[in-house]
Every structure is written in C-alpha cells, then in structure tokens.
C-alpha cells in the first residue's frame, strides 16, 4: 500500500524533476540579499532595492529557496554591523550539502591603502563613510575569506556594485566536456563570484529597465532560463556568468563587463535547476489546480511523511469533543489528507443565539488527536489510503 502511495506521489511530481531536482543536489538553500538605495554619506541609488527584492522573489518562487532561509537587508538595515551579523548567521546555518547565494546591490568604492600597490575594493553598507572605508565598509577581499569559513558545498557571490571587479581571481573550472561533468560539479565544492564590472567601471541603471543592467540580465538569465546555453536541465554559475558578460556588455555598450571568477581552487558549480519554457508550460498545463495543490503540499512535506496503515478516524458528520477544551463539540466535515499526515476539516459548536444548524463555526483544520470520541455516540472507521474511503 505504501508503495502504491509513493507511486501516486511520484506520478504527481512528474513535471517537477525529470532526472534530478534541486533537492537531490542540495539539502537546503540559503541566501543573504542586500539592496541599498538610501545612503547616509554617499549619493543615493534608484533601483538597488527593487533589484534586491526581485532577486529574493525569484529565488523563492523559481528556485525553491525556502522563504525562511532567505534574509533580506534593505536600505538602513544594511549597516556594516548588520551585514556582518547576517553573514555570520548564514555561515553557521549552511551545512555541507547546502548552497548559499550572497547578492549585493549598492555602491562600491576603491581605495589604495598604505603600502599596497593595488587599490582595494569595498562594498558600501548604508552607513559607510567614504573617508574611512576600511573601518566602515566591507573589503571585497573579505568575501573570499568568508567563503572559506562556510561548510556549504556551493557558494555564489553576485555583486552588483561599482568597482566590484576587484574581488575575483582567475581559477579554471572543469570543462563541460569532462566525463560525468554534472556529477562532478555537483559533488565538488564551489566558491564563485560574478561581479557587475571590472575595476574602474561603473554600473549602469536605467529607468526604462527599472533595474541595473546587471540585475536585469541576471533575472532574465535565471528566471527566463536564457542563460541555459546548452539547453540541458541546469544553469551553472559559469553559464550565468558568461551570459551576463555578453548581455551586460551589450546593454551598456561595453562600458561594463561582468567578471566571472572563482574565489578558491574548488572546481564545482553552483547549480540552478533549469527547465525549458516549453517543458514548464507543459507541466503547468497538464496539472489542474487540485493536482497542483497536492504536488506543492507533497514538496513541502517531503521529509515528513507519516503514513500509517489502518488509521482510525472519526467519520464525517459525526461529533466528537475538542481535546483542548472538552466542553466544546466538534463536527467532522471530512478527513483532510495531507502528505504530512491526516487531519480533520471540522467545525466547532458555537454558543450563540442562533438556530442549531446555524451555530457551527466555519470549517478549519484540526489535528486528529485534538478530537476525542464521545463513547457510544461518535462513529469511527478506518481510513483507506488507497481509496480515501472510511470503511
């Protein structure tokens, strides 16, 4: 019976994963997203907040990032101390089989420090002081250091900021022609960074785009799957980077060239599960709303299935007592099948001056063990998971 049920779930999930899904590569996905329009000491930006919120929504809606694992800092929240604190939390939360995305949209600055011949790049938090960059901003080099402290399998830094090219160093990744390429890049660790431009370049944002050139193309590359250059099921960070290099350069008439680099020698790739538009459309068309609700519920409860054979339940139409307040009567309307376990859809008896049939509450979901049987009155049966019928 369990096998049959699993078969049903597999059947329902057919459109989501053809061969492999995000869940097969990562246990959890985490993100820290920062967008700053409103600066205390430097000129404001126009679309950094929009950019950040759009990225957040895209990760949640398109790439299965759990809402609880996506942290967003906007404008005045995005101070140096808050960014460091959230970064630290993120590093502690992400485990060995997880992925982490860090996105920053705001100002960047460059300064030559002391004996260093090469200027150092900084990400500018909302409270950054241009006169005191080292102590008030986030050195781009810190991104590399931060990436070393995390246990996460894959980390991707997306930096949409001026002068942001400074953080990256050149390291080769695996060739796509390597044997078992997908298997290798998903198993290997990765620390990758894509920046909006090289040093001495400034990032461009336009009213007509309502985004920066970088984020506009980042969204089209991932959400619209345009970065999927080889037409497989995945978009890798490298594919995304090359797409951005081409498109951002085009949009900005070569005044901005995104940089795609690795921060360490690891050869893995951050993966974004990609389905061609055609496949996606077919999936959605094939599911009606009922099937979709079941499929989405199944995804939510994937790891929690508690199916029990011979589950005794109270029959619809029968009355029991609410265990949390046994003076309250509960009328069972139906048994609510959830992938995480059965529950009742039931009504409470209200104590109001209305006719008996009108004095029941709206239907709500009540856990099975929150309803007590009234001996001799409550009718029970066994829930058949195959048929949904209570025998």
């Amino acid at each position: 019976m369990k096998i049959l049920l699993k078969y049903c779930f597999c059947f329902l999930s057919f459109g989501l994963t053809q061969n492999i899904g995000d869940g097969d590569i990562y246990d959890n996905s985490w993100a820290l997203i920062i967008g700053i329009n409103d600066y205390e000491n430097v000129p404001d930006l126009h679309y950094a907040v929009e950019d950040a919120l759009a990225i957040k929504n895209m990760l949640i809606n398109e790439f299965n990032f759990s809402r609880n694992n996506v942290r967003v800092l906007i404008d005045k929240e995005a101070t140096q101390s808050n960014i460091n604190r959230e970064m630290s939390k993120l590093l502690k939360s992400a485990d060995v089989n997880d992925r982490v995305v860090f996105y920053f949209a705001g100002h960047g600055e460059t300064e030559a420090l002391g004996l260093e011949e090469v200027a150092t790049g900084f990400l500018m938090p909302s409270d950054a002081d241009v006169e005191n960059l080292y102590f008030s901003a986030i050195p781009m080099e810190d991104l590399r250091n931060i990436s070393k402290f995390s246990k996460a399998k894959h980390m991707l830094f997306l930096v949409d900021a001026c002068y942001s090219g400074l953080a990256a160093v050149n390291t080769r990744g695996l060739s796509t022609n390597s044997p078992n390429y997908i298997d290798k890049i998903t198993r290997e660790n990765a620390r990758q960074i894509i920046t909006a431009g090289q040093k001495d370049e400034k990032v461009l944002e336009k009213d007509e785009w309502e985004h920066s050139a970088f984020t506009k193309n980042l969204i089209s590359g991932l959400k619209d799957k345009k970065a999927n250059s080889n037409g497989d099921d995945f978009i890798t960070a490298s594919e995304l980077g090359f797409y951005l290099q081409e498109k951002v350069s085009l949009d900005t008439e070569n005044s901005q060239t995104p940089q795609v680099k690795r921060l360490t020698t690891h050869e893995g790739e951050m993966i974004f599960l990609s389905k061609s538009e055609k496949t996606k459309q077919k999936t959605d068309d094939d599911l009606n709303l009922q099937e979709l609700v079941l499929k989405l519920s199944q995804q939510l409860n994937n790891s929690q299935s508690q199916i029990q054979n011979n589950q005794i339940v109270i029959k619809p139409g029968s009355i029991g007592l609410y265990a949390r307040n046994p003076s309250k009567e509960v009328m069972i309307v139906r048994v609510f099948y959830r992938p995480s376990g059965l529950a009742y859809v039931a009504k409470f008896k209200l104590n109001i001056e209305a006719a008996d049939e009108l004095s029941w509450s709206r239907v709500s979901v009540i856990e099975l063990n929150d309803v007590l049987e009234i001996p001799g009155e409550t009718k029970t049966g066994i829930y058949n998971y195959n048929t949904g019928i209570i025998d």
């Binding site: 609510f336 099948y337 109001i352």
Partner: protein, 472 residues
C-alpha cells in the same frame, strides 16, 4: 487503477468548489498548515484584492486583556516587520498605487489591499511576513500604549462622540465577551510584552486565518505563489476555542443611559435621544432582513418621506435622525437616534413615537414605493461594486468567518430579492419591542442655555427648522 486511487486521494485532500452565486470561478483549498485560501478570478480589471483575516477579535479578550487585540493589530500595521517597516511598506504601496486598510472588530481582524496585478507578489510577501515577523517588544508596546493614550485623549475632547461610546458600552451586558472596543487606557497600560507576543503567536497563525484573493489572477500561478510564501509558516498549536457569545443567563443592563456633553461642532444647545435594540446573531436570516429594514429607514430619513415624517411626527419631535445596524456573530444591534437643536426633546414622547411607528410598520409594512426604490438602489450599488474587488474580497471574508461559509457571500442580495412586506412585518414585530429597547439621552451644551432658550427653541423648531431642509 492508479487513476482511480489518485482520484480518491485528491478528492480526500481537497474539496474544490465552484460557487453558483459568485460571478467568476472560485477555488478554495487548505494549505497543509491549515491556512484556508479562497481564490476568485475576475478579469475585468488588471488588479487584485488580497485580504487576510484572522479569527480573532475583541470577543476573545479576557477581562485582564481588554484591548490586547487592538494593540497587536496596531503593532502589525504601524510597526510592521523587520523586512517591511511601516515607512517602507507605505512607500512601496504608493509605488504600486495600492489602496489598503485594516479593521479589528469584535469578531475578526482584517488586513486588506487592492493593488495592480503586478503587485500581487509583493503583497503576498508582506502578508506572509506579517504572519511571522511582526516586531513586538518593550519599545513597540510602549509606543502603542502612548499612541492609544493620545488617541483616547483626542477622542475625549469630542464629548458628544465620547458620550455615545460610553452609552453603547453601558449597554453591553456585563460578563459577556462583547465589551468596549475602546477600553480605558489604564487597562491598556497593564498589558505586558509577553502577553501581546503570546497573543500574536497564538492567533495570528495560518490555521487561524483565511486568505482571500479576488482579481485578475491565474489560479495555477497564484497557487504556486501562495505555497511559496505561506507554505513554510508553522501552524499554531494553542489557538483558544471561540468563547460563548450567548447572552443567556447574563444580566442585561440598565434601560437608560444619560449623559451631558459639550459639542465641539455646535455652539448652541441641543440633544440626542436614541433607541438601541438588541438584535439576533448575524447567522440568522432575520438579521439580514433587519439590516435591510435599517437601510430602508435610512433612505426614508434621507428622502424625508412618510416613514420619517411618522417617526418624527412631521419633524415636530426631532428635526433629524440617523440609524445604524451593528452586525456581529453573537448578538447584533440596531440604533436609531434623533437629533434636536435648542432643545433635547422629550424622552417619553420620542420613545413612544419611535415604538408606535415601528408598531405601525409591524402591522402595515413599508410603503411599496419606498421598498421598490430601495431594492433598485441596492441592485445599482451591486453593479457599481462590480469592479471593487476589495469589497468583494471583504464580503467573502465576512461570509467565511461570521456566517460560517464564504458561499453565503451573496446572502444579503438573495434575501433582498425575496424580501416581502410579510417578512418585514414579522421581524419588526418580533424584535422592536419595548422590553428589548435601551434609551440613550445626551443633552448638549447645557451651559449655553439661558432664559430665552425656550423661546428661541419654540420659534426655531416650529417655524424655521421644521420647514427648512438642507437637502432641498
């Protein structure tokens, strides 16, 4: 075989329904965490209304926690969350040109937004964030208490309005869960951060909420979004059951409440004499009929037609009046108050006339002309509201939480279509009785009365005000 089993599983999992009375496809389902979702497709305008209501109101407050729901909803609306502070939220809403509001009443707490369809994603983000991340700490509570106190003191300056509040509060049976929506600030000040936080965590949870979305939505896409935003939110396992809202066995209040107040709007003496009648639960069809009768009386006051003339004895007893119907899950209330200038009026005469007019309606019904006019106006109102998705969403929520099922969404209109004078006569006879009536008397600006006031009053009321109608 698989298809057969699948069918039963699906059927068991979700009960889909297409409402017959609603215009546009309606879908409803529960998320596994217990959030009830009602989706109505209306594609006439590129906008969407998103309303979320929690099954909690002031009726859930114990004596020690009076005002707590108001304070928590204020924190939700005025403080917001880490991600969406009130300031940021206002700015973003303005960018989308959104209309929005909230309402914490006796029986439910509601947050609504109407926005261009492009803003749906944003609003779902906001509402799901509010379900988990509202900031309630010592600083916030202090701010809310301070604000309450400021509002209270401001309101107190309007002595007439405040007298109304006090009178209506007095008519709430002692010991019943329906008590003042505006408790004394000392009660608010006794609330603790811990109790507010616990209130928020218990009641503002998915399994105590209904999410209604009406507008230019694609069900598949919208359902995916709903799962993204709300699916991970844990349900609450300690929602207290609804309290008893019955008045049976509860001592009813005094039959008259008298107040004296200074009006900040008028500089001359005057008075208000009102009749309050207890009415049945919103669940009863009679409550809907009574609401229609209230609206008909309102129309007659506005039109100065025969019914109003009968109530006011051709404006000799009072020059103007207003009516109000308060709908609640427990008992409801009907309120008619008369208004006079230069005099308060005779309580006995006005009370007698109001009751005798209602008795007349109980025996003879409403004039056909007025009833027809009212029906036509209501129907026109329906057409006008066709694109007011926000009103439709709120009606669905009201039906779901107060009437017990959103499918009763159109009940008022359905009953109106069938409404006859026989129905009107029956309910008027049943509910408008002297035993069921409380009287409010508010005399205004007594300090402005002088020896010549009775003379001015006589001249003004007999020869000027009675014949003068500002609407004509």
């Amino acid at each position: 075989m698989i298809y057969k089993n699948l069918f039963f599983l699906l059927y068991s999992f979700i009960l889909f329904s297409l409402s017959f009375s609603l215009d546009g496809d309606v879908h409803d389902f529960f998320l596994p965490n217990g959030l009830k979702v009602i989706l109505q497709e209306r594609h006439g305008a590129p906008k969407v209304a998103v309303s979320i209501a929690y099954n909690v109101g002031s009726h859930d407050e114990s004596k020690e926690k009076r005002g707590i729901n108001d304070i928590v909803t204020k924190a939700i609306v005025l403080e917001g969350t880490q991600l969406y502070s009130n300031k940021k939220l206002s700015k973003r809403r303005d960018e989308y040109g959104a209309g929005y509001g909230d309402n914490a009443s006796y029986d439910l707490s509601l947050f609504w937004t109407e926005i261009h369809i492009d803003g749906l994603d944003f609003i779902l983000d906001v509402e799901s964030d509010r379900m988990t991340g509202v900031i309630i700490n010592d600083d916030v509570l202090e701010k809310m208490k301070e604000r309450y106190s400021v509002d209270w003191n401001e309101w107190k300056k309007d002595e007439v309005g405040f007298a109304f509040k006090n009178a209506l509060d007095e008519f709430m049976p002692k010991g019943h869960p329906y008590q003042s929506l505006w408790p004394d600030p000392s009660q608010i000040n006794s609330l603790t951060t811990k109790s507010c936080l616990s209130w928020y965590e218990s009641y503002y949870s998915p399994n105590n909420a209904v999410l209604v979305i009406v507008g230019d939505v694609k069900p598949i896409e919208t359902t995916r979004m709903i799962y993204s935003y709300f699916g991970d939110i844990p349900s609450s396992d300690d929602i207290p059951p609804d309290p008893s809202l019955s008045v049976e066995g509860i001592e009813l209040t005094a039959s008259m409440s008298k107040h004296s107040a200074s009006s900040k709007y008028f500089t001359f003496p005057g008075g208000v004499i009102g009749s309050f009648f207890y009415m049945p639960s919103a669940r009863e069809d009679d409550a809907v009929i009574l609401k229609h009768i209230t609206n008909i009386i309102e129309l007659s006051i506005e039109k100065r037609d025969n019914l109003f003339k009968r109530f006011s004895k051709n404006r000799r007893l009072f020059i103007n009046a207003e009516v109000q119907y308060i709908t609640r899950l427990g008992y409801s209330g009907f309120f008619l108050y008369s208004f006079n200038v230069f005099k308060t009026g005779s309580v006995n005469k006005i009370n007698k006339q109001i009751l005798s007019t209602l008795k007349y309606v109980g025996n003879n019904g409403i004039e056909d002309k007025l009833l027809k006019q009212y029906k036509r106006l209501e129907l026109l109102g329906e057409y006008e509201e066709y694109y007011a998705y926000n009103l439709i969403a709120r009606r669905l929520i009201y039906a779901e939480l107060i009437l017990g099922d959103y499918k009763y969404y159109n009940r008022e209109l359905e009953i109106l279509n069938e409404l006859t004078n026989d129905d009107i006569k029956r309910v008027v006879k049943k509910y408008f009785t002297n035993d069921n009536r409380k009287t409010i008397v508010i005399s205004m600006n007594d300090d402005k009365k002088s020896w010549y006031t009775p003379i001015v009053s006589f001249v003004a009321n007999q020869f000027v005000l009675r014949l003068w109608d500002p609407d004509k």
